[in-house]
């Protein structure tokens, strides 16, 4: 049913139709609306689930782990510092092979405190052993949650559905939400691979020493390899049943004759597509590759999508997070993927652009300017979109001039006020 609906509400309705039996909630902006809506449904009796208000994110993930070990379909959501706070348990959920589904409403990580959107939170957990899916639109966010439960339970591997905080969670957009019977037909009841049952006791979470730890970890690697097959299969099933494309590994936009391709994750792809249309009107052959599945990293799918053609000369990777001391998280995986295979565009120059940190808008105008400079060969290997170099220079000067230069964030804020 087509609705004009807030992204968080759409996700809550999609999750509810997946019939979670346990929902753990601890509030953190910008995720809160999702679990609030689910809590209201449980209270009204519309959703038959245990709704646990827990004392922290660490408790939220721990309770979800317990519920999954007891055979329940369990769900939670978090963001930013909340994801960091539960990090130890995040690794445990994956290590134990429990098919948790969690929404991450992507938000920056402090300090400085910042409630706005970027991908720093989810990227910090990229090697936790979870499948990570990134939604481009609220339609896709809703659809990905329905797919996530199936993927997670088929593989006994947790899935993190990442949706941009505020940009998606707080945006009212048109979303086609399926009916309960359709979701039931797509998502069978959870059949756990392992189960804590008093009548048939097993232990889960034993200590494993050097004699077998590598082998257990290898299985995590193997599950991710299988995920590269399961995710497209679930995407195909979903498409066949619901009649729209959502999910999968990667997606392409106007790449057929492109000599420049932008690689991005999440909602910024929408603005990227608008920029590409504008640049194409000006005669530039630009396209985009969206990464829907970031973990496992779809190296082969990406190489296949980009093709062997030497026409592709430039890849511009938009990073919504920063790896200080290294550069871009996504770029590193793309370089590895391009180097690993004997297919794919071998001669493409890769450029990294860090954009939209802590909620700075990524505008079509800025993207067009940046991509035009990439086309002219003027974009450096690593750069920041719309960086205010004047502000940075002021603080660098202060640091050089004075030992006790003070806290940089506050200095920069004061400089900004002084400018106005």
């Amino acid at each position: 049913m087509l609705k004009q609906i807030e992204g968080s509400r759409a996700v809550a309705e999609a999750v509810a139709m997946c019939r979670p039996q346990v929902i753990c909630a601890y509030p953190i902006t910008p995720q809160t609306h999702i679990v609030e809506a689910l809590g209201a449904m449980v209270k009204k009796g519309e959703l038959n689930a245990q709704f646990l208000n827990v004392e922290s994110e660490f408790a939220a993930m721990s309770a979800v782990i317990g519920a999954e070990a007891a055979g329940a379909r369990a769900y939670t959501a978090t963001a930013s510092q909340g994801l960091l706070y539960m990090s130890e348990a995040v690794y445990n959920a994956a290590g134990l092979g429990l098919p948790v589904v969690m929404t991450v409403a992507n938000r920056a990580i402090g300090a400085p405190v910042n409630i706005w959107n970027d991908h720093s939170d989810a990227m910090s957990q990229r090697d936790a052993g979870w499948i990570q899916l990134y939604a481009e639109t609220n339609q896709e966010a809703a659809d990905l949650h329905i797919q996530a439960f199936r993927i997670a339970e088929e593989l006994s591997t947790p899935v993190m559905v990442c949706m941009d905080g505020f940009l998606l969670t707080h945006a009212s957009e048109r979303v086609d939400l399926p009916g309960q019977a359709e979701v039931d037909a797509f998502l069978p009841p959870c059949e756990p691979r392992q189960l804590l049952d008093p009548d048939d006791p097993v232990s889960i979470g034993a200590m494993v020493g050097p004699e077998a730890f590598t082998e257990v970890r290898y299985l995590a690697f193997e599950r991710m390899r299988q995920a590269l097959e399961v995710i497209p299969a679930v995407e195909a099933d979903f498409g066949a049943q619901f009649g729209r494309g959502s999910g999968g590994l990667v997606k392409l936009y106007r790449t057929d004759d492109a000599d420049l391709i932008v690689v991005a994750l999440g909602s910024v792809l929408g603005t990227v597509k608008d920029a590409i249309d504008e640049l194409r009107d000006d005669g530039m052959r630009a396209g985009a590759l969206g990464i829907t599945t970031f973990r496992p990293f779809p190296a082969q799918a990406m190489r296949d999508a980009l093709g062997d053609d030497d026409r592709l000369r430039r890849l511009v990777v938009l990073e919504r997070s920063l790896a200080p001391g290294a550069g871009g998280v996504v770029t590193a995986d793309i370089r590895t993927a391009l180097a690993a295979g004997d297919s794919g565009p071998r001669h493409a120059i890769v450029r990294t652009v860090v954009a939209g940190l802590g909620g700075r808008p990524v505008t079509r105008d800025s993207l067009c300017r940046m991509l035009a400079s990439a086309e002219r060969g003027e974009l450096p290997a690593f750069s920041f979109l719309d960086l205010d170099m004047g502000l940075v220079a002021g603080e660098l000067t202060r640091i050089r001039a004075t030992r006790r230069s003070g806290p940089s964030a506050e200095n920069i804020l004061r400089d900004l006020v002084g400018r106005a």
Binding site: I115, R174, G270, K273, P361, R364
Partner: protein, 197 residues
């Protein structure tokens, strides 16, 4: 694509108003996107929200920097922030006030702007009369439907349907009555402006 920016204060329903406009547009089979300015909102603090309406899916997620219309829910913001930043030439402006532009210190601006695109509506007063609470969102939207009538953007019926879908009982009825009264008020103002011209 038609882009609207809302200005008001926390607690005045600025975000709800943008969502209601998107919902009304959806009812007229248009694509719409509404979202708040993202911040730690609190009662009384300046709040901005946005709404885009178009005939194709709306893909961008950047804030509206060049609005086709401004809905200013709180006139006390006029001298605190540059509310008119980026407004398209001859864009639509609807201001919640029982006073005129000259009284509000906007005489020069009003003299330069198209008269049929720059109007005031006493939205808070209408809300107090019909709803009993100083929430100007619904009457602003009723006024907006009248102000942009020539654009064939959004009808009063769609606004009223969005309101009754969002609220229930007396709250819905009060908001709808305020929106209708604002629609009539702005329609009357427009007729006066047109006759004067």
């Amino acid at each position: 694509m038609f882009q609207v920016r809302f200005h008001g204060r926390g607690g005045q329903g600025v975000v709800t108003a943008a969502e209601l406009l998107a919902s009304a547009a959806f009812r007229e089979d248009r694509h719409a996107q509404a979202f708040p300015s993202f911040g730690s909102e609190r009662m009384g603090a300046p709040v901005t929200s946005f709404c885009r309406i178009g005939d194709k899916p709306i893909r961008t997620h950047e804030p509206v920097s060049e609005p086709d219309a401004l809905l200013i829910q709180d006139p006390t913001l006029l001298h605190q922030a540059d509310l008119f930043a980026g407004l398209r030439p001859d864009g639509y402006v609807l201001l919640n006030s029982a006073r005129g532009f000259s009284e509000l210190g906007l005489g020069d601006f009003a003299a330069r702007h198209r008269g049929d695109r720059l109007l005031v509506v006493p939205a808070t007063n209408l809300a107090l009369t019909h709803l009993g609470r100083p929430l100007p969102g619904a009457p602003m939207l009723g006024g907006f439907a009248a102000l942009t009538g020539a654009e064939d953007l959004i009808g009063l019926d769609a606004v009223l349907a969005a309101i009754t879908d969002r609220f229930a009982g007396e709250v819905a009825a009060g908001n709808a009555a305020a929106a209708r009264a604002a629609f009539d008020f702005v329609t009357g103002q427009l007729e006066a402006v047109t006759q004067h011209a």
